[in-house]
Symmetry: C2
Subunit: 257 residues, 2 copies
């Protein structure tokens, strides 16, 4: 079985993690295209590819062209591309597939559902790869590629991908904000957030092994009006935390009523 060959457009974190992952499993990377030649060369050297900083020098011999650039730059870069063959994909969670349709005969999305940092190894086999494509043939090609590096390849359309993006805001950003609110409360009463770290560890261990909807606890789900009333009363000098407390308590109660 022969595997598709790849060109990367972009040399940032996503390109780095994916290109190295492909290289390790023997996928042939023909070229790294990046507006900074140094960055292109650095990554190209690591994955036995050729570097270029000129879109006009892109090799048109590859099977799959992976745009691994910032969401906001996709429109601009795509307007300068015109593939006569191959599949053009982006790696974004929030850009619809049809933003690529005019630039190539086949287009797709190759979205790794993880945050990548420059200095941190990621086990790609455990990263869900969300795929979408303009044809079943193109999907098959992307699936062949994705399955070489990940054990979790999913068929996810543009609507679902947007939903994932919103869900990730709840899961990551809003969760972080809840902890920041707890931190703010402690600090404003001369205590340190570290006091709650053992409880946080316990919270994490529980959630790790259960569906969140099945392990909700606390005064809201118990409908313990006395405790809720006391908490709201004590938060009266911190009206923003009080507003958050009230809305989330109501949200938990509605969900479980």
């Amino acid at each position: 079985m022969s595997y598709p060959t790849v060109v990367f457009i972009g040399a940032g974190n996503v390109a780095n993690h994916l290109a190295k992952g492909f290289h390790q499993v023997g996928i042939d990377i023909l070229q790294i295209v990046n507006r900074s030649f140094d960055k292109a060369q650095k990554l190209a050297d690591e994955v036995d590819a050729k570097p270029t900083d000129d879109v006009n020098n892109i090799s048109w011999e590859a099977d799959i062209y992976i745009l691994a650039i910032k969401d906001d730059d996709i429109k601009d870069v795509v307007s300068n591309l015109s593939l006569s063959k191959g599949i053009l994909v982006h790696t974004s969670g929030s850009v619809p597939l049809d933003h690529l349709k005019n630039a190539a005969p086949e287009a797709g999305v190759f979205y790794p559902l993880q945050t990548f940092k420059a200095d941190q190894e990621v086990d790609l086999t455990q990263v869900p790869i969300c795929l979408e494509a303009t044809s079943s043939e193109a999907f098959q090609q992307l699936n062949t590629l994705a399955s070489k590096i990940s054990n979790q390849v999913h068929n996810i359309d543009s609507e679902q991908r947007k939903t994932i993006h919103i869900a990730a805001v709840f899961l990551n950003n809003f969760t972080n904000h809840m902890l920041a609110c707890a931190e703010e409360l402690l600090v404003s009463h001369n205590m340190d957030f570290d006091l709650l770290r053992p409880l946080l560890e316990e919270t994490w261990q529980k959630i790790r092994h259960h569906k969140p909807s099945e392990v909700q606890t606390g005064p809201a789900i118990r409908n313990d009006q006395q405790v809720i009333g006391e908490h709201l009363d004590r938060l009266k000098n911190e009206p923003e935390l009080q507003a958050v407390y009230r809305v989330l308590t109501e949200s938990i109660q509605r969900k479980h009523s």
Copy 2:
């Protein structure tokens, strides 16, 4: 140095974890008092103490009496107690110290900041113990006891303890609800929560090593109005999730403005 002797009133999860912890480090537990004699006996056998189900049989020879019972039962039990010597403490996060004052010459709080489950070992050395007492002598006694089992003993007054309780609602209950919202979104679009588990793991690893206020990310803190607008628009059929999204986005923006 001699250590204080202890009587436990209660034989539930908190009593079990604390009594076994004390016993392991050589603290003398004189008695386990519980309305179910069988439960008292079971724990007493494990910690070389005597069991009783009769409040009138409580040994008045101990230095510290630990009420490890439900918050709602404290008032009732305390009204039947009258210590002529020793320190009476409870283990609750939310009951003020002065609820104990009439029942003993000295009173205090011995609050372990962790959730305990019957079937799960907890490393007590890592559990913060929040202490409060009616006198510095009593505090010293409690401190001697707490320091035998935990490396994290804190002087926390009743006001601070209530704040901790509210902070714990944010940290544990509300965080869980954020994940439940993410789950609800995915499920309603025919996806599984497991899709987000790798991102959740990453979220956790980040928070584990930082203060939450220092690692906030996402459209709210970037003030990315376009993404926020799109998300709110897509949540219009899920008005409760939309309300949560709106309030938390505003809360993040106010906090960081």
